[in-house]
Structure formats: C-alpha cells, structure tokens
C-alpha cells in the first residue's frame, strides 16, 4: 500500500536526504529544515511512497512507544528502505521486524547476556582486547587505517566471544555483513550475503547442539534442542546479533575518533581526565551527536493516530529520524555543538520503545573503554591526511567512515 499526499508531489522531498558538503557530522540540512517546519511532514521513498518523517523528539518518543504503531515489516504500508525482498531472503530478520507478543518471546531468549551485570563482568576481557590491539598498533607501521586495525576488531572480538563464534572466521562474516548493510548493493548481492551468513550460523548452532559451551549461541542451541525455537530462528538471531554487534560499535569508534580529532579541545578534555563520569558523559554525547543509524526507525500505523495537529492514518508509514531528534533544541540546547560535558543521556541513538537496542549496555562499555584508553595511550594520535579525503558511508544503513588513516 502506498501513502498518498494531496499537496503538489514536487514539494515532497526525497528520503534519505543528503548531508552538506564539509559537514560530515551533521544531519542533512533539509531534514533539519523539516524539523523547524513541523513535527511530522511527508517524504518520498525510492518506491514513490510518501510516509511521514517524524523529526521532533517528543513526537518521536510518543510514536515509538505507541501500541497503535507496528514494527512488523509485513504490515501493509511499512516504509521499505530498499527494493530488497522483505527480511533479506524470504524470512524476516529476527525480532527487530516483529511486534509483540512474538517479538517479546524471541527477544527475551537473548536479553540475559546483555544485562548490566553480565555486560559489566566483561569489562576486564574487553579492556584486554583493547590494550592488545593498541599494543599491535604501536608496534606496527604508520600511518595505519584505524578502521581495519582497531575499530572493527574491537567489537568483532567482543561479539564473537559473547556469541561463541570463532574469530578466525571474521573475514567471512565481515565481508558478508558489509554487503548486507550497503545501500547500493544489488538485491542479488545482499541476498547472497544474507544466505551465506544464515547458512554459517545454522551450521554453528547445529555444532553447539552437539558440543555446547558457555556462550550465547549454545544457549540458543539448548532452546532448539528443547523445542522452544527452530534452528532457523536461532540462526536468524545469530546473524542479527553478529551484524548489529560489530558494525555499529565499529563505526562509533572510528567516527567518534574522527569527531574528537576535529574537536581538539574536547579530545584534550577527555584525554586529560581520569573521571569515569566524564568518560560516560562523553560516550553519551558522541552517541547523540553522531547518531550513526541515520536512516530513521521504520514503523507503520495500524490505527488512526492524532498527533501534533495531524492524523496519521492506519496503513501510513512512519520514519522516525532519531538523528534529527537528537538535535532538537527543546531537549539539547545548542545541539550542533559537540560538548562532552553536557548531560546527553536522553538521546535516542539507541531508538526508543520496546525495540530499543538490546546491546546498548555492551556498546556503552566498549565505547567507554575505547574512549578512555586509545587517546591516553596514543596521545599524539592524528589524522594522516585531509578530512576532505576521508570516505564516508553515505550509502550505508549505518553511517561512519570506510577508512580512517591515522598516525602518531
């Protein structure tokens, strides 16, 4: 189903929008202009449909926790991000594209390893991963690509340890997950990538059924054996966690480092402080300011909803632009300024509502350890080259940099 608009079609802007040249950390100016215009306006997607773009913080939070709003990609009117068949290969990508009670049932099978306490217990292991990788950087050649040598290996090693995936296979799953999240990949490329990963996880779960260990995939394998979950569902969850676990954090490490290098006063403040509270607030501020999931949360109304002077009709799509909401002046004064001392904890970089990021406490801990270790151990860290030459991931569903050449 396609939403229709009565106004002149030419006035409805295309989405996603383009960032301004030379402003790699700021959301597209056209989206900010929409926020000033109204809380909800129409945008046009690749397929000609015109869902609502929700730009303001209060309305976004209200809609993301409204039971009349569905996250199910199969609900008619769901704003499809690409021509890719739903779920990447005939089945939905786990619980992120489902509604309760199905979503709740599946999500709860994997919440325990991501609790504050269980994540906190991983601190020494994560600190060691970070320290070892920095040792490797310091012993290696300069300049070096920080993405390849540090930003990607940190979360990959952590999520592999948590899931029980052999890190030796990282080239295989990183190559395939890169294709899946690249917006300009062909349908065939994405489906092939998705099927390769699903097949890999399916075999791994089968292996854990026979040889269980103390890891998340073994926990899922036990549920398969108990008949609570199919192996296909377990494999889908594994794919989701593997992709979500390393792409997002890797981009926050590399893009966050670039943002700090471009704001030397903020970097100095962070490097010279030994206050864990400042490290925590810097992490929240970088999450708010960079908001790397830049294509918005996708939803569809299943009933008519009156909000901000508009009526969202049942079957109309909603795109909740969290990057724009994180620049809402009514919540974050002077929002375009990176200020690591501000209290940014209300940001919606992890989304809002029952689908809010499952791995957020793990992401926080990884980022806090990285941001409090890397710049202190390599105090002269600097960009090797010009900002203008850095390739940004404008085409990806997760924003960041493809490469970050650094030296010291």
């Amino acid at each position: 189903m396609t939403s229709t608009v009565e106004t002149n079609p030419a006035e409805v802007p295309d989405f996603p929008m383009t960032r301004a040249a030379g402003c790699p950390f700021d959301p597209p100016p056209a989206a900010r202009a929409k926020q000033e215009e109204a809380a909800l306006t129409r945008v046009r997607l690749w397929d000609g449909s015109t869902p609502w773009l929700v730009t303001r913080y209060a309305e976004q939070r209200a809609l993301l926790s409204d039971p009349r709003v569905s996250a199910d990609i199969d609900t008619p009117g769901y704003p499809s991000p690409s021509p890719l068949p739903k779920g990447g290969g005939g089945s939905r990508i786990s619980f992120i594209l489902m509604d309760d009670p199905e979503h709740n049932r599946l999500r709860r099978m994997v919440t325990a390893p991501f609790s504050m306490r269980r994540v906190g217990a991983m601190r020494p292991a994560i600190q060691k991963i970070v320290d070892d990788l920095i040792d490797g950087l310091l012993a290696g050649p300069r300049p070096v690509d920080l993405v390849d040598a540090f930003a990607l290996p940190v979360p990959s090693l952590v999520i592999c340890e948590l899931l029980g995936v052999p890190y030796g296979d990282h080239d295989f799953f990183q190559d395939n997950s890169k294709v899946i999240i690249r917006r300009d990949a062909t349908i065939e490329e994405r489906m092939a990538g998705h099927q390769a990963l699903t097949g890999y996880l399916d075999r791994l779960v089968a292996d854990k059924e026979a040889h269980p260990a103390d890891d998340l995939l073994s926990g899922l394998a036990a549920r398969v054996t108990a008949g609570e979950l199919t192996r296909a569902e377990a494999a889908q969850m594994g794919v989701l966690l593997l992709i979500a676990g390393h792409e997002t954090t890797a981009n926050m490490i590399a893009l966050g480092t670039l943002a700090l290098l471009e704001h030397p006063d903020q970097l100095a403040l962070l490097r010279e402080s030994d206050d864990p509270a400042l490290v925590a607030s810097a992490t929240e501020e970088l999450l708010r300011y960079l908001n790397i999931t830049h294509n918005g949360r996708r939803r569809v109304a299943v009933e008519d909803i009156e909000i901000a002077g508009e009526v969202v009709r049942a079957g109309e799509g909603l795109i909740l632009a969290n990057d724009i909401a994180n620049r809402d002046t009514s919540v974050f004064p002077d929002p375009d300024r990176l200020d690591i001392t501000r209290d940014a904890h209300r940001h919606v970089a992890f989304g809002f509502g029952v689908h809010q990021c499952l791995g957020q406490q793990l992401a926080r801990l990884e980022l806090q350890i990285v941001y409090s270790t890397l710049y202190r151990r390599i105090p002269t860290l600097a960009l090797a080259g010009d900002l203008a030459d850095i390739p940004f991931k404008h085409d990806g569903s997760v924003y960041g940099v493809y490469e970050l050449p650094v030296t010291w």
Binding site: A112, H345, Q361
Partner: protein, 66 residues
C-alpha cells in the same frame, strides 16, 4: 514515592539500572527488571523519575505520595 514495575512490558534494556542501581536490578535468567526498593529515600526521587522517563517500554510507574 511508591514505585511499581510491569515485568510483562519490560524489554530488558537496562537503562533504569544504569541510572539508579540502588533501586533497580535485572533478573539473572532473562534481564527483566527487578525492583529493589519500592519506596526509595528522597535523595533518589529525581533519579527514579528520570529512570521512569527514559524507560523505553514505559514499564516503570512512579506514584508521588505525601
């Protein structure tokens, strides 16, 4: 102040534990919210209100009593 939590709504994000670890915890087997202190001291009230405010699943209810 009287706090109540709705375990069925909780999505285990852990934001309440992050903000107010003296008041909220998470269950070991599924990460669902555990209320440690339903009537916390006055010094914690602002933090608890904030925890309820940022709870993504609106699973925390705060009743202000005299």
């Amino acid at each position: 102040m009287k706090i109540s939590v709705d375990e069925d709504r909780c999505c285990g994000a852990g934001t309440c534990v992050l903000l107010a670890p003296d008041v909220f915890d998470q269950r070991e087997d599924d990460g669902i919210v555990v209320l440690l202190d339903a009537s916390p001291a006055a010094g914690l009230h602002a933090t608890v209100r904030e925890a309820a405010n940022v709870c993504p699943a609106a699973a925390i209810t705060v009743a202000e009593t005299a």
